[in-house]
Symmetry: C2
Subunit: 144 residues, 2 copies
DNA sequence: GATGGTCGTAACCGTAGTCGTTACGACATT
DNA sequence: AATGTCGTAACGACTACGGTTACGACCATC
């Protein structure tokens, strides 16, 4: 399926910002987050930009600028992050429409569409069960 | 996530072969299936090759060659097909290992790994609930 | 044993998505 | 005015997917 790391990095960034703020800081910079996630600051800004559009974080520009949470960590679920960062569906249909003269070619798409909807709804429900507060707790629970 | 159509095409092929056999034919050719799915026969052979490795179909070579089912349609679930054609995990970790000096960088991977395992297990359970007999029934139920 | 149809598979190409990187303007604090 | 950061475009490397061509391997049939 060619998995990507967008959900992972987004969760990483949100957890980092929250923890940093709980330590008394106002905002976190994309550079700091990128260092923690071992990636490039532009990658972080791009991802956080999508999370901002979803209303999960805020950004300030100018001097002393950076990112801060727009919502409480316990009110954000992995589904919120997933939807902000992963638009499309999980499974794709045929590239070219199948042969409509064939019984299978005619019925396959509605059939699979219905099945996929149920499956993706289950995935969403499962993602919605995990809050970012849960994630941060798990992070801090790592043995040291 | 850049979804692909492998599961859809594989289900299409299996449904087509089964229906064709139920109509009294011995084997189905990749050319016939490709016509129904509106794709190239090589694409079908590649996919069916993976399904053969998983023990779902058989192939005969030589004259009058083609593909036939190796198992009953009602004993095959979408999970069987999914596992045969989609190897990797759904979500990826960081490309480069995050900063192990950072609390978040240190704990994020075990945390997300545990969460992802639960989610993917749920997905598998859901895929396992749908048999290809269900799929074929839905296909034939399409209004005409 | 020659023929013909089909599988099995390699090779290549176009397209798209992800990620990293550089660059630079916009902006606000100082 | 200077500085630090965001916002975003642009580009390249890499990978995956799907389509296509090509050709050898195989076997039923004649």
């Amino acid at each position: 399926m060619s998995a990507n790391s967008r959900l992972t990095i987004a969760a990483h960034a949100l957890a980092w910002i929250s923890l940093y703020q709980r330590q008394g800081h106002e905002v976190a910079t994309s550079e700091q987050i990128a260092t923690s996630a071992n990636t490039n600051a532009v990658v972080i800004r791009r991802l956080l930009g999508e999370l901002r559009r979803a209303g999960l974080v805020e950004s300030r520009r100018g001097g002393g600028a950076g990112w801060s949470m727009a919502r409480e960590l316990e009110s954000i679920t992995l589904l919120d992050v997933y939807e902000a960062v992963e638009p499309g569906p999980l499974f794709a249909m045929h590239r070219a429409t199948p042969d409509q003269e064939c019984v299978v070619g005619y019925g396959i798409q509605p059939a699979m569409q219905g099945i996929y909807e149920v499956i993706e709804e289950t995935l969403r429900r499962e993602l919605a069960r995990v809050t970012l507060e849960d994630v941060l707790r798990d992070i801090l629970a790592a043995p040291r």
